[in-house]
């Protein structure tokens, strides 16, 4: 089936200058419709190269907000590599989530600069308010996931809180909770999709 399509790619170096086209459009599999058309498209775009596994998973996660097991297996089949390898990569890197994440990703920087400027009380306050823990970082309503991140490189503004892509500097527990409150308020008024 799908797996037979692309055998030449394993571990093959990529062509040198990019003036050459990245990948030839591979032959369409006309037999079975792909169970995950979006994923199929992503994989296609990366030329079905196992070497592109990390970027493929990054894009899949962007689409689904996490990596569902079925999709990991599907990626493995499509790339013609062992599912164990895909799972291995997916569990190795901190960015990949095997469990569903909340709609809003709350990341508190716990880099050194933020740590000595008291990021831990902020983290405690956020977790307490949202009722989440390190082991169970997502709220039950799937609205928030709370994570720590090693360093965001905005140490001049320590301690730093990032909600989705918005960066908030010079945080205190009170200010951080106010930020979350404003996100929730926004959700109540006009829920984003």
């Amino acid at each position: 089936m799908i797996s037979n399509l692309n055998l030449e790619t394993q571990g093959q170096p990529e062509a040198a200058p990019a003036s050459a086209p990245l990948s030839k459009p591979s032959t369409k599999n006309s037999l079975a419709p792909a169970p995950f058309p979006k994923v199929a498209l992503i994989i296609e775009r990366h030329g079905r190269k196992p070497a592109r596994l990390v970027p493929i998973l990054q894009e899949v996660q962007e689409e689904y907000r996490y990596l569902p097991p079925d999709i990991l297996s599907y990626v493995a089949r499509s790339l013609n590599i062992a599912p164990a390898r895909v799972f291995g990569v997916a569990t190795f890197y901190a960015h990949f989530a095997i469990k569903p994440k909340g709609k809003h990703l709350v990341r508190l920087c716990d880099g050194t600069a933020c740590h000595v400027k008291d990021s831990v009380p902020i983290l405690d306050a956020i977790r307490f308010r949202l009722g989440v823990t390190e082991a169970q970082p997502t709220t039950r309503d799937l609205l928030f996931t709370v994570e720590t991140v090693a360093c965001l490189g905005a140490c001049g503004l320590a301690p730093v809180l990032v909600v989705d892509d918005q960066v908030y500097g010079a945080m205190t527990p009170e200010k951080a909770l106010a930020v979350l409150e404003s996100v929730r308020e926004q959700e109540r008024k006009e829920p984003s999709p």
Partner: protein
């Protein structure tokens, strides 16, 4: 657009694009944007339209003044060129009408020039004043008042404006005065000096020698030479104003690869990623490998918490890094390059991607670059949140789409790297230096720094420091100079306890050793490392046991688990530290720590495990009594310490917060927890 030719570049070199006469540069890097620089930009844009001013609004990266974000630089006709910091969108209309209309500077927002003058070569128009002295009340307002009165008395009040500065760049030197536009700077100014300054200098145009600050600035900007100066999103700006790609043209048309490597050898540049391996040797080894394909990788996986110099360079000056990579590729015979950048740095990724697109469009990437016959292209790969991927072999594994586990070396990547081909991996900072070396010569570069560590190094100074910022100093500058002279010392006038360098792989350096000149060797002797350049300042309230625990937890979390010394050793070490910090330590625990650390250093596969014990060992070496106190004091002592820590942190909530609150990107509501 037409591909660039050699002739085009020669034209740019002969005729650099002139600066517009009036401009505002808004520094839009991640730090600035987080502090609200985008909203300031929009507000300035609106105000410019409303006030019908013809000044150009430009976007740049960061000059490094992280403490004052958002920062803009302003040039107006008949005005000194100044940086404004701590701006808010509300200030935009005032800034324009004052600066461009009334030719007046804004109080409490001007950052004094670091290019201090020694002669008064122009009529003084503005006087910056500020109190940099002890904490017993700030005398800036008094100074400003006295100057104004004196100027009125002499009838100069209309010609000269007295401005309170946000930052004067000189610290603990009493009242400091800077005369603009010549930037002659006087320090330790006393009340009776004011009349002298007004008569002699402002009116008479003579420099007062006994007040003059003659010390040249400690910073030498080589890596950061274009940061905050060029538009990171514009190839034209880089080509026209920053001599962009001139070094590449020089390499392609006038030098052989061997000569490029020879020049690098003269410069004695060592890798800025941390290990300090000579760059020319890395290139030489890679070049010497017979292979159809060579690769060059730019390591932008800046995972050390507390380090942000790579991010800043990638965001502020992406084309320089690309140019450095292309020169490296030319020297090694590589035709393909990768930027491996952390996904936590979306802005850096975006700007490098744009730089690559622009370069490709103008034929600076692709086949037959500039008509020289040299082929090269580059791509970006995003890190996925694994610190260990900063290690060369792990980074390669990650690009190849595998788990980022390191493999034993040799073979080194320069022999067997990416896809089994010879590969050179260079840090962002290293590559940013390369064009400067080719343009100005290896000998010029080697004239900075110390015997074994040549050149300059960028440090990200953070933590309990007054002015957290990026600093570029020649190697051999002492830690004390960096922390106190450049960054203004400890926050809130507290006592310094130690400086941590090298992040999770480094160690702490206690106060008595702050006179140590910074170089690869000296830091290593002290049990720390240069690392990528993070520098964390800690005051007396910071517990060293807590710091050691923090870094160790980081390393344990980030250990890939492949080799036992790192995986098991780290975990066991953490258990022992945890026990000690809860007051349950045993007398033999310190010896046990040493044994575990030794095993990890000797037997770990890669740098992560080998250096993970450094924070523990160095705190133990210099602050052993803190560990001892926990062991002897038992649980009651541990509880007391954690109480002290929490009291210290609540008490230490500085009123400075109020200032930063006004700059926070959203209106902050009071919410009870």
């Amino acid at each position: 657009m037409n591909p660039l030719t050699r002739q085009d570049l020669a034209n740019f070199a002969a005729q650099p694009t002139p600066d517009p006469t009036e401009w505002i540069r808004v520094q839009l890097d991640t730090g600035g944007i987080a502090a609200g620089a985008e909203t300031v930009y929009v507000a300035l844009e609106q105000a410019l339209a409303e006030q019908h001013r013809g000044c150009e609004l430009l976007r740049t990266g960061s000059v490094g003044y992280s403490f004052a974000d958002p920062v803009v630089e302003v040039q107006a006709a008949g005005m000194p060129r100044v940086h404004y910091g701590a701006l808010t969108p509300e200030l935009a209309p005032t800034l324009l009408s004052e600066h461009f209309g009334a030719h007046r500077l804004l109080d409490d927002h001007v950052i004094a020039s670091r290019r201090r003058g020694l002669v008064l070569d122009a009529t003084v128009t503005h006087v910056l004043v500020g109190d940099t002295g002890a904490a017993d009340g700030n005398k800036s307002e008094f100074l400003q008042f006295s100057f104004r009165e004196e100027l009125k008395r002499r009838g100069l009040a209309d010609r000269v404006q007295v401005v309170r500065a946000l930052d004067l760049g000189i610290y603990d030197e009493g009242a400091v005065v800077q005369l603009l536009p010549s930037a002659v700077t006087y320090t330790n100014v006393l009340a009776h000096d004011i009349a002298r300054i007004v008569t002699e200098s402002i009116d008479g145009g003579r420099v007062i020698d006994d007040l003059l600050w003659k010390m040249p600035d400690k910073q030498v900007r080589i890596v950061l030479r274009h940061c905050g100066e060029v538009d990171p999103d514009s190839l034209e700006d880089y080509l026209g104003r920053a001599q962009g790609y001139q070094a590449l043209a020089k390499a392609l048309f006038t030098l052989t690869p061997e000569q490029v490597i020879a020049e690098m050898k003269v410069s004695a540049l060592r890798g800025r990623g941390g290990a300090g391996f000579p760059t020319w040797m890395k290139w030489q080894l890679t070049r010497a490998q017979p292979s159809a394909q060579h690769y060059v990788i730019c390591n932008g996986d800046e995972g050390d918490p507390g380090a942000f110099m790579d991010r800043s360079v990638l965001e502020s000056d992406p084309h320089t890094v690309l140019e450095g990579m292309m020169i490296a590729a030319f020297a090694m015979g590589a035709s393909m390059g990768y930027f491996y950048i952390r996904a936590e740095y979306p802005k850096a990724v975006e700007r490098i991607q744009r730089a690559l697109d622009q370069a490709r469009e103008r034929g600076l990437l692709g086949r037959n670059i500039l008509g020289s016959g040299f082929d090269f292209d580059a791509k970006i790969r995003l890190g996925a949140g694994a610190f260990v991927c900063g290690e060369e072999t792990a980074l390669i594994a990650s690009i190849e789409g595998r788990r980022g586990s390191p493999s034993p070396r040799p073979p080194y990547p320069s022999v067997r790297g990416l896809w089994g081909m010879p590969t050179a991996i260079n840090n962002v900072e290293t590559l940013a230096i390369v064009p400067a070396i080719l343009l100005r010569g290896g000998a010029w570069y080697a004239s900075h720094g110390t015997e074994t560590s040549r050149g300059t190094k960028v440090f990200a100074v953070t933590g309990k420091v007054r002015n957290a910022q990026l600093v570029e100093v020649p190697m051999g500058t002492t830690l004390r100079e960096i922390v106190f002279d450049v960054c203004g010392g400890v926050l809130d006038g507290k006592e310094i306890k130690a400086v941590q360098t090298g992040g999770p792989s480094g160690g702490v350096i206690p106060t008595p050793l702050l006179h140590t000149p910074v170089s690869y060797e000296t830091l290593q002797q002290l049990g720390s490392i240069m690392g990528s350049g993070g520098m964390l300042v800690m005051d007396q309230s910071d517990s060293m046991v807590d710091v050691a625990k923090f870094y160790l937890r980081f390393c344990v979390d980030e250990s890939c688990g492949k080799c036992a010394p790192c995986r098991i050793g780290g975990y066991q070490l953490q258990q022992v530290l945890d026990r000690i910090s809860r007051g349950r330590g045993a007398p033999g625990d310190l010896a046990l720590i040493h044994r575990i650390c030794h095993a990890m250093q000797k037997a770990s596969l890669c740098g992560l495990g080998q250096t993970a014990p450094n924070p523990v060992l160095s705190t133990l070496r210099y602050f052993g009594e803190e560990y001892q106190a926990f062991i002897e004091g038992g649980p009651s002592y541990a509880r007391k310490m954690s109480r002290v820590a929490s009291v210290a942190t609540t008490a230490a909530k500085p009123p400075a917060d109020a200032g930063s609150a006004t700059r926070s990107p959203i209106p902050v509501k009071e919410v009870s927890p």
